[in-house]
């Protein structure tokens, strides 16, 4: 039953005007799986993430998180149910310090809600959790720097930090390593692996190195449909995938 899946998409469709971007996507991700979503440009990868995280509502179809229906819910409602996402372009609280960025992201999950009767400085649970996250994403030395003054790689790390800070069980990362150098990417993959231990992870990626480094399973999205969803080896061998898109890219990655 659907309860056994962390995230399940059932015949999800999304149209913008007359153009149908997502055409009946099906996906069922087990808890703890790491899934990379790949596909050619314009296949609808980012749109799929936006639908799951509630940025847009789907035109039709159902999305379930731990067996609970979340399609049509607002982003903050979905987040409170345990799903968190990062953005392709770093989406930070630019004028707040690194520490404050992370602390904002832990507040709701620790039940502090809209409190105006208690001081942040006294919230030991939130402050400890924030310190922990800062160490995990290796920004503890930059804690007092304004987010707008971070280097690109640091901003990406903070982006991941904000995403995981609330302790969501399902994490969506939209091109986490976009724009990074080779060596940065390598370090960053390790970082992502470390901070998402035990969580269900979905990433959108272009870099095949990252895909094979991070994912247990690969979902191939072409023209708004998931045409294959399997282990990397099986996907590589899949004739439909090779025909549609992957052949050349995989060959390159192998070479």
């Amino acid at each position: 039953m659907s309860n056994s899946y962390a995230l399940e998409l059932r015949d999800v469709r999304k149209s913008f005007g007359k153009t149908e971007i997502i055409r009946g996507a099906q996906l069922a991700v087990q808890a703890g799986e790491r899934v990379a979503i790949i596909g050619p440009n314009g296949a609808g990868k980012s749109t799929l993430f936006n639908l799951i995280s509630g940025r847009f509502g789907p035109t039709s179809g159902e999305i379930h998180l731990h067996g609970q229906r979340i399609d049509g819910k607002k982003p903050f409602e979905i987040n409170r149910l345990g799903l968190s996402r990062s953005f392709q372009v770093s989406n930070l609280f630019t004028r707040l310090s690194v520490f404050e960025n992370i602390r904002c992201a832990v507040l709701w999950s620790l039940g502090h809600r809209y409190a105006f009767w208690k001081f942040l400085a006294d919230l030991e649970d939130a402050n400890d959790r924030t310190e922990q996250i800062l160490e995990m994403i290796k920004l503890d030395r930059k804690r007092d720097v304004q987010a707008m003054n971070l280097t690109y790689a640091e901003a990406r790390a903070l982006e991941i930090g904000i995403t995981i800070a609330g302790g969501s069980s399902v994490i969506l990362l939209d091109e986490p390593t976009a724009g990074m150098s080779k060596s940065e990417t390598k370090r960053f993959i390790q970082l992502i692996r470390d901070v998402t231990v035990g969580k269900t992870l979905l990433t959108v990626e272009h870099d095949m190195g990252v895909v094979f480094g991070l994912a247990d399973k690969i979902a191939v999205l072409v023209y708004g449909e998931v045409i294959a969803f399997d282990t990397p080896e099986a996907v590589r061998a899949n004739a439909k995938v090779q025909e549609a898109y992957l052949g050349s890219v995989l060959a390159e990655a192998h070479a």
Binding site: P75, F93, T94, L96, F116, A121, Q132
Partner: protein, 432 residues
């Protein structure tokens, strides 16, 4: 969590206690230093203005909400307070006068909750436009309901009512001042405390990036709405204190768009990005509204010019200018540029005197023609229809501007060099 057993050590923040102590002392001794009637009236208005501008800045600086209609909430606070005061005077409401401003606060809170629910759904331009519309709406409505607003004559009252408490009747201005001072201190402390709470911090997050806030579990609408209501509460208190101070509330004054505009303008001039900026702004607001208006008919023109230059060259307001120089001073480098400040100040003064002479002559010709062409300006007599005065003033202004530009270039170079040095110093300290 293993880390929750960590040892927590919170040092006493001495600097903060000193600052707040100083604030209390200033509030206490100010009317003893400036004892004239005018000074005490101005100080009372400053105390009220500080509450109003800080309340306004919860929206503008802390929350990124540009409101064009905040006079609605201080104005409704003023009206409800004056009605409450009349009821207390008539014996139908049992409330000491010192607590009547809270009625204004509640009025502001309720009004803000009613009118803010829709406008806070969005920030940015829709928010600004809705507040502008609501401001005009309430202004027009109030004048149409004379039972409530007293029409064009306003509603008047008497604050010297009931039994004196410990000899306090609120008759003398000084007693009203101290009432305002107590409210001002408590409200300022409360609003500062708010910036240190989860709601206050999430407000900053909503200002910086409302989209991301939705993805970490918070409803931006609710954050904005709560802050809007709280801001309305404090604005209402300010309005209520204003009503008690003036003993008359006139809708054409307290609900007018010019009042909303003044909150915006002086909060910005003071410095919206810093908590204490609006305090400077409120002091400036009363100072300009009373002293500058007394000094010259053209005061709004000067104010407009000041606002223009601040927006262009110092968008952080006076607070940012002060803090940037404090930073330079903290690194012991103020000695390197103080001569530049002298040069800048001197040149600016010359340009200002020249420009002001021409503005005053122009105003004189337009408004006081019957008094003849001569006018007094800074102790000198100028002939506004003579070529000499115009030429002299124009020359002074042009030379002043020229010198200012020269001084500014030199200063900009020095400033850049000092900032680089400070950056290096910070890097060096980090590396230690």
């Amino acid at each position: 969590m293993a880390n929750s057993k960590e040892f927590h050590f919170k040092p006493l923040n001495v600097g903060r206690w000193i600052v707040w102590g100083l604030f209390a002392v200033i509030l206490f001794v100010a009317p003893r230093i400036w004892t004239s009637g005018l000074a005490q009236t101005m100080l009372t208005q400053m105390g009220i203005g500080i509450i109003a501008c800080l309340a306004y800045n919860m929206l503008l600086g802390q929350g990124g909400m540009l409101s064009f209609g905040h006079a609605v909430y201080s104005g409704m606070g003023a009206f409800l307070t004056i009605h409450a005061l009349n009821k207390v005077g008539a014996g139908t409401l049992g409330l000491p006068v010192s607590l009547v401003p809270l009625v204004g606060g509640l009025a502001g809170l309720v009004t803000a909750m009613l009118l803010g629910y829709v406008s806070t759904k969005k920030a940015g331009t829709p928010f600004a436009m809705i507040t502008l519309g609501i401001g005009e709406l309430v202004f027009a409505l109030a004048l149409m309901l004379p039972e409530f607003s007293g029409g064009e004559g306003g509603v008047s009252s008497n604050r010297v009512i009931g039994e004196p408490v410990m000899g306090i009747t609120f008759g003398p201005q000084i007693q009203v001042y101290y009432l305002v001072a107590v409210y001002c201190f408590i409200c300022t402390a409360a609003m500062f405390a708010l910036t240190r709470t989860p709601l206050g911090r999430m407000l900053n997050a909503v200002r910086d990036n409302p989209e991301r806030v939705e993805f970490i579990g918070y409803d931006t609408h609710w954050v904005r709405f709560m802050i809007f209501a709280i801001s309305g509460f404090f604005a209402g208190i300010a309005g209520g204190l204003g009503a008690i101070n003036a003993e008359i509330v006139n809708g054409a004054d307290v609900l007018h768009a010019a009042r909303s505009g003044a909150y915006l303008l002086f909060t910005f001039l003071g410095g919206a990005m810093f908590f204490f900026g609006p305090i400077l702004g409120a002091v400036l607001m009363v100072f300009c509204g009373v002293m500058l208006a007394e000094l010259t008919q053209a005061w709004l023109l000067y104010l407009g010019l000041l606002f223009l230059f601040m927006v262009m060259y110092a968008p952080g307001g006076f607070a940012s200018l002060i803090l940037m120089n404090l930073r330079v001073a903290a690194f012991g480098k103020l000695g390197r540029i103080w001569t530049s400040y002298l040069a800048l100040g001197g040149a600016a003064l010359a340009a200002l005197v020249g420009a002001a002479a021409m503005i005053e002559m122009l105003y004189h010709r337009q408004l006081n023609e019957a008094l003849g062409p001569e006018l007094k300006f800074m102790g000198a007599t100028l002939n506004s229809s003579g070529v000499d005065a115009w030429f002299g003033a124009g020359w002074l202004m042009v030379v002043g501007i020229g010198l200012f530009e020269l001084a500014r270039r030199h200063y900009a170079q020095q400033w850049g060099a000092i900032q680089e040095d400070i950056e290096k110093e910070i890097k060096r300290r980090e590396a230690l």
